[in-house]
């Protein structure tokens, strides 16, 4: 939603007192929970059903992903600081944190590219076995969500560089933050389910 729309609508009367845009994001996140919940269930249902390798334990590297997971969690911290800076009208810190948030997200995505490439070289693909199908679809959709978030946050960062992101636009940043934190929380679940629980079933 545009800056103009934001300014026009944020001050309108609403029944709940909450801005409609923010409620929209919460409702959308509810829908996304069902989306990722279904994908995660599919992953778990098919866990251990591979008829041929490579198997999860052959490929998954917990130390490597722990590092990129930490980077993604730090990006959530940057997001919190960015929102705080916007609300206080601290222009310089807004720019710094609004850059660091998507930058850390891009490092996470880079880690995913490295991991995917390594897996592909080891013979894993969408069509190789059920691990390949479920792993690439589940983490791929998460990566796509991170990519959308990175583009969104970089757009806000450019707006802040142009001086068009003052305290009156803090709601815009807050909503982007809701999305970003949600995507991070999903990763925490994926990290647990895919990497930490890999030995539970097989």
């Amino acid at each position: 939603m545009s800056q103009g729309e934001a300014a026009a609508l944020d001050h309108e009367y609403t029944t709940t007192g909450q801005p409609s845009r923010k409620m929209l994001m919460w409702a959308f996140i509810g829908s996304e929970c069902m989306f990722f919940g279904t994908l995660i269930t599919t992953y778990l249902v098919y866990h251990g059903h591979n008829v041929q390798g490579p198997y999860p334990k052959d490929l998954l590297s917990v130390p490597f992903i722990s590092v990129t997971t930490f980077v993604l969690l730090m990006s959530s911290l940057m997001m919190v600081l960015a929102l705080s800076a916007v609300q206080r009208g601290q222009k310089k810190w807004t720019r710094v944190y609004l850059f660091l948030t998507p930058f850390l997200g891009m490092i996470f995505l880079g880690g995913q590219v490295i991991e995917f490439t390594h897996f592909a070289h080891s013979g894993l693909s969408l069509s190789r076995n059920l691990f390949g199908s479920t792993f690439f679809v589940l983490t791929g959709f998460h990566g796509a969500h991170v990519t959308v978030g990175v583009i969104w946050l970089l757009t806000l960062w450019v707006q802040s560089l142009r001086g068009k992101l003052g305290p009156e636009h803090s709601l815009t940043v807050e909503i982007a933050g809701l999305y970003w934190h949600f995507v991070d929380v999903v990763w925490v679940v994926l990290f647990t389910v895919i990497y930490l629980m890999q030995g539970v079933h097989t």
Partner: protein
């Protein structure tokens, strides 16, 4: 009432005219963000698809009129019943519901528009494009996997060609459209109510829209995932539904029905909401047990997520799963029954005026009871094992979805036509429509109960003579043509009344809800000043609402071409996917980005 400035710009009385609300050229309709215009577009598009789906049904009935008929080939027959089911559910009944959500919800809650007007336009265009995309399959190869496209019938091995690709890509577009619309309506109802319009003062139709919206928000992701996995299998050779690779075809059934059963309530709850408006109005009496009717609707929404496996009793889930889902299915009949008793109690002692909307609402109750009773019958797994995949099930769901949803939606069309157009429809033609439709419907679908119990399988291309199927199939075919004939009265009435109908006035039925407090058709800003509501039946209660006089015309959001642009980008993406042109995928992604950015940086008020 109006200041001189407002009077100069657009006299308040002038804006009440037909032209003020619906006038303007094609471009003003393409870029419209007015919920009333979008509602009309939804309604006309859905009625068109309803006619097309009906013609498909007539060809199916012609093919089945006698043993060993050869009106169409078996391949075309499979395509016909697949497209008939998909059309009626996703392109006719759901969008007809959406038409009413659009036109009425803001009027009923005292709002000037929905929370996100441009998003609303986007939903409509995406629905239209999704429908056109699905229907373009007739020029190549129409889908033939049935409306619930069971794996692994839909795999490349068993369904080569483009048919299934058209089906799942079309459904993805339609699903996104429904999701966006549902988010919009949930937020509109929660957040844009006029002062005093508490949740427990909302009209029942608005309540059921809210429940339906949440069902859509939470149920659609399951089919989105199911269809995405199917796409991965077909386009990229993934293993999700490939048994040889360890895949499980029952996973599809779970994903489909976790969506599919809430979908049944997505189809019926809006009709229940309409009936809950029509019955009190034509009984001139408030709805009996309003809170209980509301809670029943909410309860149906919740339990609706816990009954899906009753579509899968024959799969072999085991006695425990079957028992649990049998129990939940029987439980969900309780709130449904509660509603029926409340409607009957509303009529009891009322001053009943037997107008056409009332007839359709009454027809809804009777037909829905029949469909509900056969539904409770196959809630029991042993009975279901006899009935599943037979014509008994075909009879059951047509009593619920046609006898229920379609009768309810037509009650709504007759009820709100005067509000939407400013004209009254002919009562005589309406009654011809109702009685012919009721008789034709029952001649068509009632014999199917017996056919099913005698063993006639569902989706069968034809049958042999001497099985005892002939007479009742012939009756069903004759009935279906009577049913189709009845709609000629409707369309004649519909178009004739636009020209020659009597002026409706603000409140021709003496109804109680807020949409009847403003002119017919409503001015483009709905309410010149926002009313304060003090009663559940604001127009009936003494001092039920208060509306301060207007001194200027409210500013409304400007039209925008970005919604149709964004929807076109998604259509292009689907075309790119089905034609397997990577460069076209790139072009469409770029298009989507440009449209999304253009949208984001365009101010709402200009």
């Amino acid at each position: 009432m109006a200041t001189s400035e407002a009077a100069l710009r657009a006299p308040m009385s002038g804006a009440h005219s037909h032209e003020g609300t619906y006038g303007g050229g094609i471009w003003s309709w393409i870029t419209t963000v007015d919920h009333k215009r979008i509602g009309i577009l939804y309604g006309l598009t859905a009625l068109t698809f309803f006619v097309i789906g009906g013609i498909e049904a007539l060809i199916i009935r012609l093919q089945l009129h006698g043993p060993n008929a050869g009106i169409v080939s078996p391949e075309v027959y499979n395509q016909l019943f697949t497209m008939h089911g998909t059309t009626m559910i996703f392109l006719a009944v759901m969008p007809l519901g959406a038409a009413f959500f659009n036109f009425l919800v803001p009027l009923q809650i005292g709002a000037r528009d929905v929370a996100f007007p441009r998003l609303n336009a986007f939903s409509y265009w995406l629905f239209l494009f999704g429908g056109l995309f699905l229907y373009s399959s007739w020029f190549f190869q129409a889908p033939d996997g049935g409306w619930f496209g069971y794996a692994n019938l839909t795999s490349l091995q068993y369904s080569p060609g483009l048919g299934i690709d058209f089906w799942f890509l079309g459904l993805q577009l339609l699903g996104l459209s429904s999701l966006v619309a549902a988010l919009n309506f949930a937020i509109t109802i929660l957040n844009l109510r006029a002062p005093g319009m508490k949740l427990m003062r909302m009209p029942l139709f608005t309540w059921m829209t809210l429940v339906t919206s949440f069902l859509m928000v939470l149920a659609f992701p399951a089919i989105t995932v199911g269809l995405t996995l199917l796409m991965m299998d077909r386009f990229f050779g993934a293993d999700f539904y490939r048994v040889a690779a360890g895949g499980d075809v029952v996973l599809w059934q779970h994903l489909f029905w976790i969506f599919g059963h809430p979908e049944v309530y997505i189809l019926i709850l809006p009709a229940m909401g309409i009936v809950s408006e029509v019955i009190p109005t034509f009984s001139q009496k408030p709805l009996f047990g309003y809170p209980v009717v509301v809670y029943s609707g909410v309860l149906i929404g919740f339990i609706g997520f816990g009954v899906w496996a009753h579509h899968m009793f024959a799969v072999g889930l085991g006695p425990i799963a079957n028992s649990v889902f049998s129990a939940t299915t029987m439980i969900i009949a309780i709130p449904t029954g509660v509603k029926i008793f409340n409607w009957l109690a509303t009529m009891w002692g009322g001053k009943i005026k037997v107008k056409v909307p009332f007839l359709f609402a009454f027809g809804f109750i009777i037909m829905f009871i029949i469909g509900g009773l056969s539904g409770v019958m196959h809630a029991s797994p042993p009975a279901d094992l006899q009935q599943t995949d037979s014509y008994f099930v075909v009879a059951h769901f047509h009593y619920v979805l046609f006898g229920g949803s379609v009768f309810g939606l037509f009650a709504g069309i007759y009820y709100w036509y005067p509000k939407i157009t400013g004209k009254l429809m002919s009562e005589t033609l309406g009654k011809w429509h109702f009685w012919l439709m009721l008789i034709g419907f029952n001649i068509t679908f009632f014999p199917m109960h017996f056919l099913g119990l005698q063993g006639m399988p569902r989706r069968t291309y034809t049958y042999e003579p001497g099985l005892g199927f002939h007479d009742m199939n012939l009756a069903a075919t004759v009935g279906s043509f009577l049913l189709a004939f009845s709609f000629l009265f409707f369309f004649w009435n519909f178009f004739r009344s636009l020209k020659t109908g009597d002026e409706a006035g603000d409140n021709p039925w003496n109804a109680a809800t807020l949409e009847w407090s403003i002119p017919s058709p409503p001015p483009h800003y709905n309410f010149d000043t926002v009313p304060t509501v003090r009663s559940r039946d604001p127009l009936w209660a003494e001092d039920g609402y208060e509306k301060p006089p207007a001194d200027h015309e409210p500013e409304m959001p400007a039209g925008s071409a970005w919604p149709i642009c964004l929807a076109a980008g998604l259509l292009l993406l689907a075309i790119a996917a089905i034609s397997s042109h990577l460069w076209l995928v790139g072009v469409s992604v770029l298009w989507i980005f440009i449209a999304a950015y253009g949208w984001s940086f365009q101010p709402v008020y200009r």
